[in-house]
């Protein structure tokens, strides 16, 4: 009897584990789906002294993994734009912390590798590929800023002499628990782009680690529970769907198994096709040729309770408080809106996107490109497209506005040496000229010695935080004057006043008014005439 109850319980437990498989991004999945229990591999049953040692162990079975990764943007931080220009984190200047160059040891905390501390990093060494940052399931693997992507395995004081002690990471147990990637893995870097939670993207922040349905219908932890890779379908470690190579327009249908596709699998259309709305709302399907799905289905970004940065003014950086220490200011909710190291921020939640025509081409202003300080902000990057080019869709974007250092004589954006414990890093010394001189020298670019500040703008596609259908935009959100698409030119939007022909409005209403006035005058005449007669 007792035995029977026990086995019944065991079976129940197994069933539960199966049912719960979708909820946890890993543990139960692994038990049921993976053919390997990494804890049983002898090569992983050891204490690892460093990240590369773990990678060496991984490569004993996964022989091709490192070489696959070394082909990726994740590894190279480099992207060749279709216009021939060299992009990628390594080369571009942005309007957040502005440049990776000259700040490698800090920025490469988020590199999928170990030891990229300067521009002499050897990209061909296989053991420098970091497997764990993407495959950890314990949530305990982390890399501290300042170590060039290395993981701290012994208690370390950092910065030296600061008294700040970093806790060591035990690599053995982490290596024994590896599995497929989850939102937590990708999020470890992508939620924190721009230097903090939600700062950069607006549609990616830590609230997506375990979101509810109202925040994202696909990643809903209690529902679909998509991992990032569910859409960013990765094969051979090649992750599709980079914003550097965006697919603005996908005219394809929903994908079928067994068929081969050469296009980007991360688009909405790759699952939902071109006519996703039900018969009762069929008119909505008439929008899919011009309006990106995201436009209606992501009514606002930064909806998960984490604010995103909307603007960043570096020109105010460097203020010291009365105590002589770098100043920090917070808003009413206690969120930082000024630091001496970074200047002034505007942060916001539940932000309504701006909308632009986008055809997938993005142009950049790179180091050395001539820029002018004027009425128009310098475009760090810009989404190209128009109503007339027949390959653009209306897309929601976050426009991030900045004011950042540039060289007013050579008229160029600049590389700034931000982070470091030396006496030129801006975050240590608050001296722009010194920090820019070192930064520019590090990439061999000319610098006049003068620093001024220029207004800049960058665009970020809004494509995550897809709301449930009931929260999608309603017709009048666009079909009205002064509505969301007010500034989108080149298309006739019924209900938008600025699309009306002024002369037709004047003549039309005048005609109606004349008819009415005629009737009133004529009628009054008849009444008066009748009174006179009787």
């Amino acid at each position: 009897m007792g035995v029977r109850i026990c086995s019944a319980l065991a079976i129940a437990a197994m069933l539960v584990a199966a049912a719960a498989g979708g909820a946890d991004d890993g543990a139960s999945d692994k038990v049921l789906k993976s053919t390997s229990d990494h804890a049983k591999f002898k090569v992983l049953q050891q204490e690892f002294a460093s990240g590369p040692e773990v990678t060496r162990a991984c490569l004993t079975c996964h022989t091709e993994a490192a070489r696959q990764l070394q082909l990726t943007q994740h590894w190279k931080w480099e992207f060749l734009n279709p216009d021939g220009r060299r992009l990628g984190k390594k080369s571009i200047i942005n309007n957040f912390c502005t440049s990776v160059a000259s700040n490698y040891a800090y920025c490469t905390t988020c590199h999928i590798g170990y030891g990229w501390k300067d521009d002499r990093f050897d990209f061909s060494v296989q053991e420098n590929v970091d497997c764990l940052i993407c495959h950890d399931t314990t949530g305990n693997y982390r890399k501290a800023p300042g170590f060039a992507g290395h993981v701290v395995t012994q208690e370390t004081e950092f910065p030296p002499g600061s008294g700040n002690r970093l806790k060591p990471v035990k690599l053995g147990p982490i290596a024994q628990e590896v599995a497929r990637t989850s939102r937590d893995n990708c999020g470890a870097c992508h939620f924190f782009g721009g230097g903090g939670d939600g700062v950069k993207h607006g549609d990616l922040d830590s609230s997506l680690a375990s979101p509810d349905k109202s925040l994202d219908v696909h990643m809903d932890a209690l529902g679909n529970n998509f991992a990032c890779a569910t859409c960013h379908m990765t094969a051979g470690h090649q992750v599709p769907g980079s914003r550097y190579a965006p697919t603005a327009v996908d005219r394809g249908g929903a994908r079928l198994r067994g068929k081969e596709y050469k296009t980007n699998p991360t688009t909405c259309q790759s699952c939902h096709g071109q006519a996703p709305h039900k018969a009762g709302a069929a008119k909505l399907n008439d929008h899919t040729d011009k309006v990106a799905c995201q436009t209606c289905h992501i009514p606002a970004y930064a909806r998960g309770g984490v604010p995103t940065k909307m603007s960043w003014d570096w020109s105010t950086a460097g203020l010291m408080g009365l105590d002589g220490k770098p100043m920090v200011r917070k808003d009413a909710k206690g969120r930082v809106v000024y630091t001496a190291a970074k200047g002034t921020f505007v942060i916001a939640e539940n932000v309504v996107p701006e909308y632009v025509w986008f055809n997938g081409r993005v142009t950049y202003t790179l180091l050395g490109d001539r820029i002018e300080k004027g009425a128009q902000p310098t475009r760090i990057n810009h989404f190209e497209g128009s109503a007339g080019d027949n390959r653009s869709m209306i897309w929601p974007v976050k426009v991030f506005r900045g004011k950042q250092a540039y060289d007013p004589l050579y008229k160029s954006l600049v590389v700034t040496h931000m982070a470091g414990t030396d006496d030129t890093a801006f975050w240590t010394n608050f001296n722009w000229e010194k920090a820019v001189a070192v930064g520019m020298a590090s990439v061999g670019a000319p610098f006049s010695g003068k620093v001024d500040f220029v207004e800049t703008e960058s665009m970020w596609p809004i494509t995550h935080m897809v709301a449930p259908a009931k929260d999608a935009l309603r017709c009048h959100d666009c079909h009205a004057s002064g509505a969301r698409l007010e500034k989108v030119a080149g298309i006739y939007i019924p209900g938008r006043g600025s699309d009306h022909s002024v002369w037709l409005e004047v003549i039309g209403w005048a005609l109606a008014a004349l008819a009415l006035a005629g009737a009133l005058v004529h009628g009054t005449g008849r009444i008066a005439a009748a009174r006179r007669r009787h």
């Binding site: 719960a20 909820a23 692994k30 830590s206 209690l222």
Partner: protein, 133 residues
């Protein structure tokens, strides 16, 4: 003071799992991600609505949480903490709580262990301190 007791209450949710390690090495550690979902969507939701606010795992140390979890006291000792991770409790709120519904049939001890894993991991001195965001 009151807050501490609430903390104790939430903390106590997570005790069980002691008898579990025989089954599987992974289960012994608990599924912290499932624990996270339950902590956020059941414990925190109710605390936010009825008990004056959320309590972040990183508001307490691992030792604090362990003590609370072992004490098994909720709402100033009025009831058992484990009750709030039990199948009976989940059944009673599953009409209005999706997490309770989804995990309706997870064995009590397994779920309790999951929650404990998340809380200890997210504690102030845990492996990855977790705030309420």
């Amino acid at each position: 003071m009151t807050k501490t007791v609430y903390v104790a209450g939430v903390a106590a949710l997570c005790l069980l799992g002691i008898g579990l390690h025989a089954i599987d090495a992974h289960a012994a550690g608990g599924d912290w991600k499932r624990g996270r979902v339950y902590y956020q969507k059941v414990c925190t939701d109710c605390h936010t609505a009825k008990a004056g606010g959320a309590i972040a795992p990183n508001a307490r140390t691992m030792a604090d949480w362990t003590a609370y979890l072992n004490a098994d006291k909720h709402a100033k000792g009025k009831d058992s903490l484990r009750n709030y991770a039990s199948r009976e409790y989940r059944a009673s709120v599953k009409g209005t709580n999706k997490a309770a519904e989804k995990y309706a049939d997870v064995p009590d001890e397994q779920l309790f262990n999951d929650i404990r894993s998340f809380m200890l991991k997210g504690a102030k001195d845990g492996d990855s301190p977790a705030s309420c965001n």
